[in-house]
Symmetry: C2
Subunit: 345 residues, 2 copies
DNA sequence: TCTTAGCACTTGGTTTGTTTGAGTGCTAAA
DNA sequence: TTTAGCACTCAAACAAACCAAGTGCTAAGA
């Protein structure tokens, strides 16, 4: 249990340290706090806070910095999101104001905006209807030997891939394959499709093609790509700003982490209603030890919900960041509703 | 004019320094060189080499390192490409041995292989027929409002993009647009298409669509993407290994450089017959001051010629790198010829 | 004329010691 | 419970000393 005064001190320690990056001492606090007590009193309180594991020293006679638990307490009980600065509002309005022709453009643009606002790295994930289903498959002959496979899901995702066919395949054959797939697989969830693809389909397709494996590989490829959620990343390079003393190895593992869709999906976790903050080693991944992650969902009514996130140093100004994330999720939801309204009617 | 002995010394200085990274002194050289002269003699020769600007000291009593001019002389006159190590041959064979369905897969895979072999950053550019022409355009309706635009060039490049159409556009209308474009534009070079797109076409297309600008924008987008050469990059993260003392800013500009297709095309220059080496500030771009670039073309007969390149620190073991690049260009050309042969017959 | 031994000199890097300033914990008095 | 005072700790900055590697130059030898 913390006293009012201890909370005040903890809040001040976190705020100071996140702003300046220097451990904060008792004298500085005494001068700065609204109550006027001596530095010795502050020292006693700080000792109490340290006792509880909320702050710690970098060496035996240094000022204090927040521990992970201290940050946790701070974001859970003490922080109040800053309202957006007028300037930031402007940035959002203009960057999101343009005319978009694809959901993905809005989402990817959002990652850029968020990283600009925060100067950290940002992730965005588009609103996802649960268990999207295969709603269409096409094979479009392009030239002498090139064919494009296109796959559409009922949530509006489109994946495609071109490939070369060695044998001269007739348009009729392609038609037949397409009809087969559409007959048998449309309406199923993607995992189901993937499963059938390894059982029923090869037999049936053999009626039309001598060597169906090529086709099926392609189809499988495109399918798995459609099945995994697609993240957009903004401000990748900002990670460089926080790599202490050029620890190349951890930087590398960090970058491979954020470029692997599966891994990053794992880190971000599943959408929850609130804005959530994960601090340093609260995340299982070792490469993130010195980082904090703020994630938030945004809600587009019947069109599902997506996520946004920013990744920055543990030592980040949480109040400002929470303000930005909170405001941005609303703007984004609004923009998307707009977009859908335009096209739905 | 350099004497035989001076060449021998220069070669040794470059080789030593690129291997160890430490300035090399007269005594070490005296011990190592096949001729036996005293270190004092070496010192005199080194003074002469320094006189000519081929080597230099890092401080007044240090050993020597090659200057840019020294490297230049070395690669122009002294270096002999190392033959490939058996291990490296293996890597190439197996990585390139698989079955590919697209040219692009081979080229992008090549970038990865090259960066693995060298542990530097590698670029590959696919064989390009000069002045490729538009050979086909499609609009494929995907769902209620989604349409995919596909563009094919006679060199086999495919670009595509999906977009949403707000008004309910009929299949007939789409057909008409496609027919129009195919009638009017197929066979022209891409720049010509782009030009016509801004003059003739808007008028004609207005017959079929109320607000054609949306379509034209999309088409223009896809077109310009097809028109610019497409690079593949492998081993991006390897650049981190050579960023001295974590100079974040130059790293950032380096990364933005290699991610901008236009810029990197500029740096690589146009294909020339030979393997070419650009050293440090011989490249105009400032971010590359401490890097060297080895570029080479590969030739796929009537299918055109492409480029490969590796970017590493100025202080790279040139003989080994030249060996790798030289061998790889051949392997790649062979593989591509194979690929084309399979599909052409 | 070229080579070489010898020597004085330069310099960066490492080690060691000193000082300074910010900060702490503790004690004793208010 | 608060506070002034004090002894103590530690990182950072600075300086002195030393070492190792290397250089340029000179003068003698081949």
């Amino acid at each position: 249990m913390l006293s009012e005064r201890q909370m005040m001190i903890l809040r001040a320690v976190v705020r100071d340290f996140t702003n300046t990056g220097v451990p904060v001492g008792s004298k500085a606090l005494a001068k700065q706090l609204p109550i006027h007590v001596s530095s010795a009193t502050i020292r006693n309180e700080m000792a109490a806070l340290e006792e509880q594991g909320l702050i710690k020293k970098t060496h035996s006679s240094s000022g204090r910095i927040p521990s992970v638990e201290g940050y946790r307490y701070y974001v859970d009980h003490l922080v109040k999101p800053d309202p957006l600065q007028p300037n930031d509002i402007d940035v959002i309005q203009t960057s999101l104001g343009g005319d978009f022709h694809k959901i993905d453009e809005i989402i990817s643009q959002s990652a850029t905006i968020l990283s600009n606002l925060t100067s950290y790295t940002a992730f965005t994930l588009k609103p996802e209807l649960k268990d999207s289903r295969l709603s269409g498959f096409r094979l479009v002959p392009l030239g002498k030997r090139q064919v494009m496979a296109i796959l559409v899901t009922d949530s509006g995702d489109v994946e495609n891939q071109t490939f070369d066919v060695s044998e001269a395949v007739s348009g009729d054959q392609l038609e037949a394959v397409v009809r087969l797939i559409n007959d048998q697989l449309v309406g199923l969830t993607l995992p189901d499709v993937l499963q059938k693809l390894q059982t029923d389909i090869p037999l049936k397709i053999a009626n039309y093609l001598q060597s169906p494996t090529g086709f099926l590989d392609i189809f499988g490829d495109v399918l798995t790509r459609a099945a995994q959620e697609r993240f957009y990343v903004g401000g990748r390079l900002n990670l460089l700003n926080f790599s202490q003393d050029s620890d190349v190895d951890s930087l590398k593992s960090l970058y491979s982490l954020i470029d692997k869709t599966d891994d990053i999906a794992n880190v971000l976790g599943s959408p929850s209603d609130n804005i959530s903050v994960q601090i340093g080693n609260e995340m299982t991944n070792d490469a993130l030890r010195n980082f904090s992650l703020i994630t938030a969902t945004y809600d587009v009514n019947q069109h599902g919900r997506g996520m946004i996130a920013i990744l920055g140093p543990t030592r980040m100004p949480y109040s400002r960041m929470l303000g930005i994330v909170g405001a941005f999720r609303e703007e984004l939801a609004k923009k998307l509703l707009d977009y859908y309204r335009n096209y739905d009617e």
